[in-house]
């Protein structure tokens, strides 16, 4: 296996709130090898977006290491950070609020090129913007349009062109298709996969949609309340999910096929508990159908249940500790 492009070690991000410490990301270890895609799935509030932003240091981590090409960028100062910023970009979920409404399409895509001083003349910038618009499938007649004149799919293409403008190696895609209609969603997913193939990009793909994540990812990390509970190759996750939460998530996906309807089959009770000052032990224990007394005693870590398949659950740690 190739060396990972991105690696995190015990990455933590806590937010101070009036009610206590909110554990948004709580000791996440993951690695993404160059040219591959890691899918991060979980429900709202599980810390997946915070994780993505912390890795890019758009949010400062509380503790832990972020390795980019083996270098710990969590310790970088502002100037060092600026020098590698252009290698790491992000595509946001909401194509409506992530684009400046007062800038034209051309200006939005040109801005990162100007900020990173990648081109020397305006002509060169214009050329590059034209190329980018072509790459993401935006007709050149839109160059002087403003974001509000365009539909969601086209706006998302602008967001992608902007991220690509500085020729990054690593892109965090934070729910890039959840705000789009299915037919447009498929167009954008195809575009992202083509770009990865042609430019050798590495993606961290954050989403709550398991069918999308399976489609696009090589490896999947399932998150629950700030922790990664299962990590495995994408195919294997669907063949053999180990963690009870993963199983519940999989059975909750509405599949567009007619099947005998079993009322209540696999529906888990309850809701995600409070991430503020969580109790020790498994965070999922309160909703877990298989929870035992042990689940609330020990803090869990990912263990290798089968080769390349990591899970954090007492069911797989064996009898004795």
């Amino acid at each position: 296996m190739s060396t990972p492009l991105i690696e995190t070690r015990e990455l933590k991000k806590y937010f101070k709130t009036s009610k206590g410490m909110l554990h948004a990301v709580d000791g996440v270890n993951l690695s993404i090898s160059a040219g591959s895609t890691l899918g991060v799935v979980g429900e709202s509030g599980c810390g997946k977006s915070t994780l993505g932003r912390t890795i890019l240091r758009l949010i400062e981590p509380t503790s832990g290491e972020i390795l980019y090409n083996g270098q710990n960028i969590a310790a970088y100062n502002t100037r060092q950070m600026l020098s590698i910023r252009k290698e790491m970009q992000i595509i946001f979920q909401d194509p409506f609020s992530s684009l400046n409404p007062r800038m034209s399409v051309r200006d939005i895509i040109a801005e990162p090129i100007r900020v990173c001083k990648l081109c020397h003349s305006n002509a060169e910038i214009n050329q590059r913007v034209d190329r980018l618009m072509d790459t993401v499938g935006l007709a050149s007649r839109f160059e002087n349009a403003y974001p509000h004149e365009l539909d969601g799919g086209r706006r998302q293409r602008i967001g992608i062109a902007r991220a690509l403008a500085v020729e990054p190696k690593f892109i965090v895609c934070d729910e890039p298709v959840s705000a789009l209609d299915v037919s447009i969603q498929a167009q954008i997913l195809n575009l992202l996969m083509d770009l990865q193939e042609n430019m050798g990009l590495t993606y961290m793909f954050i989403t709550h949609d398991l069918s999308v994540v399976k489609h696009i990812s090589n490896e999947i990390a399932v998150m629950y309340l700030g922790q990664c509970v299962e990590r495995v190759a994408s195919e294997r996750l669907f063949e053999n999910p180990l963690h009870p939460y993963t199983k519940a998530l999989l059975s909750a996906i509405p599949i567009p096929k007619l099947m005998p309807r079993e009322r209540g089959a696999g529906v888990i009770k309850g809701e995600v508990s409070n991430p503020i000052d969580p109790k020790p032990g498994c965070r999922f224990a309160a909703r877990c159908p298989l929870a035992s007394a042990r689940c609330q005693e020990e803090d869990l870590h990912l263990i290798e249940a089968e080769p390349g398949h990591f899970v954090a659950c007492t069911l797989y740690t064996g009898g004795a500790k």
Binding site: G152, V182, A186, L189, P254
Partner: protein, 330 residues
């Protein structure tokens, strides 16, 4: 044969603004019988919500207008009914659940009072004790402890808020429930809980339901009949069996299925529908789907396709008119 609970014939709805006229619904026919669940599927701007608002008589005043057609709801002609009649109908005969549970509740009133309001409006003579008991019963029915009726909406999670919205809609046991994307804003595990509860309550109260959604997965799980909408028209209608397992499908429906990543298969590329929805202020001639359709023929550009009916399955496409000799053209 029994009378349908809802019968819509040739419905046309427009939105008139100073700048332009939006043709939101263009000749929609629909029938729904007691106890049935109909899935109304389509993308943003297909006219799904407009159809529901027309049934409720809640189109935005002065802007939205029904220009043609009729809507008969449980024997009452909705379009000619007075405001007072409609107020009686809403809540008791027909109720609607809106997409966003965060904005459809009043943030300044405890949830128990919001549920009580419906009961009070439809049964003026109800006593305080009866009202309180009624609220408790409805809350328990949607799985919320009655002890929380004094809480305000912000004290509940998204899933719980949607349960409360459903409780309000079902408080007077309506005959028809219009659910406009009821679970789109919710997480999958919560969505599964809410859908499960809705199906159960529907059965218990023998309510008919129109489920508006863009998620074919949700449709497969809950609906008996399916209508696929595109640019204000129903382009395909049939039983769930017809739509999911039928031999023939409308090219647009085909495209919708091709756009969804299949969990059970390994596909590298999706096959999306190229292009975008047509501009509703300037709809194309002929078949409204023609410029995105992979099978577009010359006739599609000029002539509106006929409705081709094969038993329970209706498809509105020239392709079907040509190939299905046995099918009756309406």
């Amino acid at each position: 044969m029994e009378e349908p609970i809802l019968k819509i014939q040739d419905l046309h709805v427009v939105y008139r603004t100073d700048e332009s006229t939006v043709y939101a619904v263009n000749g929609l026919n629909l029938e729904l019988f007691s106890g049935e669940t109909l899935g109304l599927v389509g993308e943003t701007g297909a006219g799904k919500t407009t159809t529901a608002l027309s049934i409720m008589g809640l189109l935005p005043e002065k802007i939205g207008k029904v220009t043609e057609g009729s809507i008969v709801l449980d024997g009452t002609d909705v379009l000619s009914a007075t405001d007072a009649d409609m107020r009686l109908l809403r809540g008791s005969t027909v109720s609607m659940i809106f997409q966003d549970p965060m904005t459809s509740l009043n943030p300044t009133i405890p949830v128990g009072d919001q549920i009580g309001e419906v009961l009070h409006l439809h049964r003026r003579d109800i006593s305080r004790a009866e009202l309180a008991a009624g609220v408790d019963k409805i809350l328990e029915m949607v799985g919320i402890p009655a002890g929380r009726k004094g809480d305000y909406p912000h004290q509940f999670s998204g899933g719980m808020k949607q349960r409360i919205v459903i409780a309000i809609a079902l408080a007077c046991e309506p005959k028809l429930l219009l659910a406009d994307e009821p679970t789109t804003a919710l997480d999958v595990t919560i969505q599964a809980q809410v859908l499960d509860m809705m199906s159960e309550l529907k059965e218990k109260l023998n309510t008919s339901m129109v489920l508006i959604t863009h998620d074919l997965g949700v449709v497969a799980q809950t609906c008996d009949k399916v209508a696929i909408m595109y640019a204000g028209e129903i382009i395909e209608f049939g039983t769930a069996e017809d739509i999911f397992n039928g031999e023939k499908r409308h090219p647009y429906t085909e495209g919708l299925f091709g756009s969804i990543p299949d969990l059970t298969k390994r596909t590298r590329r999706l096959s999306p529908i190229e292009g975008l929805m047509p501009d509703p202020t300037d709809l194309p001639k002929g078949c409204k789907f023609h410029d995105r359709c992979p099978n577009c023929m010359e006739i599609c550009r000029t002539t509106v396709p006929p409705e081709v009916q094969t038993e329970s399955h209706l498809i509105r496409c020239h392709l079907m008119a040509e190939t299905s000799e046995g099918g009756a053209i309406r």
